[in-house]
């Protein structure tokens, strides 16, 4: 069980203090797949880094299974947006990296790495270097590398944001299958609501900066999911609407003051043009 209590975080940028996270509390039960969605720059990645121990909260506590988190640890492994594979190591050696750091003997390391490469269907590419793999394959290796550590908690920071739609759809199915098999607790940061609805048990909508949990949605559907199903489409629409308010707020802060978000404006079809452009 992951528990966050009263987490706050402030950044100093250009001499000004910017509050990134206002007191935020959260509980995630074992085996849950939880997505954090929010407008860009709202601090969802910061929150993930705090859980990972890569960043420190100004106040509040993070505990995993009752033990406080004080720094990065192998019980919480992160899959980053760019796969962050080491270019001087083959796929196999990349997956072995964490095991090597943990002092697992060579043979066992190799067997386990192969097992997890098989799980992401990349057995044939064990000896390939990262630059020889496509973006989707690299992300698969990164997932295998994280799973090989057998973490309590898998943290994913917009892992599929840089991939094309087809590759992403494939990886969604893959992640669902892997999650069903391993039953890991997953915290998944994304700005893609569809992705979140497809994958998660719970979706937390974060507010614009400073981030706090604005609303929580539960997805009671089984897997694999069909997003065209009316129930899921309805939830997706609700989340979108909840998020829209926050996105507008960010846009209003960033864009010119005359910007307004216009919904459902009727554009005249081009064949009705009666010559106004002559």
């Amino acid at each position: 069980m992951l528990r966050l209590e009263g987490i706050t975080k402030t950044f100093a940028s250009n001499g000004r203090r910017v509050q990134a996270i206002s007191p935020l509390s959260l509980e995630v039960r074992e085996g849950q797949f939880v997505s954090l969605v929010g407008p860009s720059g709202c601090g969802k990645s910061t929150l993930l880094n705090i859980i990972a121990g890569l960043d420190r909260a100004d106040a509040g506590t993070v505990t995993l299974d009752g033990r406080p988190v004080t720094g990065p640890g192998v019980d919480r492994v992160v899959v980053f947006q760019e796969a962050a594979l080491f270019p001087w190591l083959t796929a196999q050696k990349n997956v072995e990296f964490g095991l090597k750091m943990a002092g697992v003997p060579r043979e066992e390391r190799s067997v386990r790495a192969r097992q997890f490469l098989k799980m992401v269907h990349l057995s044939r590419f064990a000896d390939a270097y990262p630059h020889e793999l496509s973006g989707g394959m690299r992300q698969r290796v990164a997932i295998a590398r994280a799973l090989a550590m057998d973490p309590r908690l898998l943290l994913m920071d917009e892992p599929f944001a840089a991939l094309d739609a087809q590759t992403r759809a494939l990886l969604h199915e893959e992640v669902t299958a892997i999650w069903a098999e391993t039953r890991k607790t997953v915290i998944f940061v994304t700005h893609n609501v569809r992705e979140a609805v497809y994958l998660s048990d719970r979706i937390l909508v974060l507010s614009a900066r400073p981030a706090s949990i604005k609303q929580e949605f539960r997805i009671p559907a089984g897997r694999p999911r069909d997003l065209t199903e009316p129930g899921l489409a309805y939830i997706e629409k609700q989340i979108m609407e909840s998020l829209r308010v926050e996105i507008d707020q960010v846009a209003q802060a960033e864009l010119d003051s005359d910007w307004v978000h216009e919904t459902a404006r009727l554009l005249p079809p081009p064949d009705r043009n009666l010559g106004s452009d002559i």
Binding site: P72, V74, A84, W88, M101, A102, Y129, H131, E132, L155
Partner: protein, 248 residues
């Protein structure tokens, strides 16, 4: 094959100009004379001795530069205070041609082996320091964060991630330093006596043996580029290919 033909052509042109007798042969020797001078020097062992003596200085100077340059580069990369204090000094030193130190080293160490080795060392060490530091500093933070979440820290993090990640840039520093140390060696040997290729150059000029001078230059060129090609370029290319930085 194309390359070989091109160099043969260059030699033929050289021979042709020589045959035109625009300059007296003692000022402008032909390729055959240079070749025979080279063969003579290699046969009686005098050139081999000179090469050995020069190479020894080079090896000692360059080896010292590697050891000192790497440790200093590491220090500057890891320690902010050291970087603030020593950083400007190092880049200043890099701008000084190492031969400018010769009067000083001659005063301190005499016209000795040590003074030339010091010049070679000073020629090579700064680019090693600068590239080691830059290589380590330019390691993408993402890799370090990823490694830390997988339980790497302290010296393991350094040897398993930081060093391999910094290797490409460190390699190009070593290569640069190799070229600099050759230049420093020649300058040092020309200006201070003692067995070596520089000495052969001076003596040959004194007896007006231009063929021997050119023979030494050929040796220097071939030897320097051989090491560069076989050692540094190959290592650099290998890492580049592995990392996917160059077309395989």
């Amino acid at each position: 094959m194309k390359r070989l033909g091109f160099y043969l052509l260059l030699i033929v042109i050289w021979e042709a100009i020589y045959r035109l007798s625009l300059w007296p042969p003692y000022l402008f020797p032909g390729p055959l004379e240079v070749a025979s001078s080279l063969a003579r020097g290699l046969a009686d062992g005098s050139l081999l001795l000179a090469v050995a003596a020069s190479f020894r200085r080079l090896a000692v100077g360059y080896g010292l530069a590697l050891a000192v340059g790497l440790s200093l580069g590491l220090l500057l990369a890891r320690n902010r205070t050291a970087d603030e204090l020593l950083g400007p000094l190092v880049s200043g030193m890099q701008a000084i041609p190492s031969i400018a130190w010769l009067p000083l080293t001659v005063l301190w160490m005499g016209l000795s082996e040590a003074s030339i080795i010091t010049i070679v060392f000073l020629g090579a060490v700064w680019s090693i320091v600068v590239n080691t530091q830059a290589g380590i500093r330019n390691v993408p933070p993402l890799w370090i964060r990823a490694a830390r979440t997988m339980g790497a820290k302290g010296s393991r993090l350094f040897t398993a991630v930081v060093l391999p990640a910094a290797l490409p840039q460190m390699l190009s520093g070593w290569r640069l330093a190799w070229a600099f140390s050759w230049r420093s060696l020649m300058a040092g040997e020309l200006l201070s006596p003692g067995r070596g290729l520089g000495e052969v150059l001076i003596v040959s000029r004194n007896v007006n043996d231009m063929a021997a001078v050119l023979a030494v230059i050929v040796i220097i060129g071939v030897f320097g580029s051989l090491v560069d090609n076989l050692l540094f370029q190959r290592a650099e290319e290998q890492t580049r290919r592995k990392w996917g930085l160059a077309p395989a």
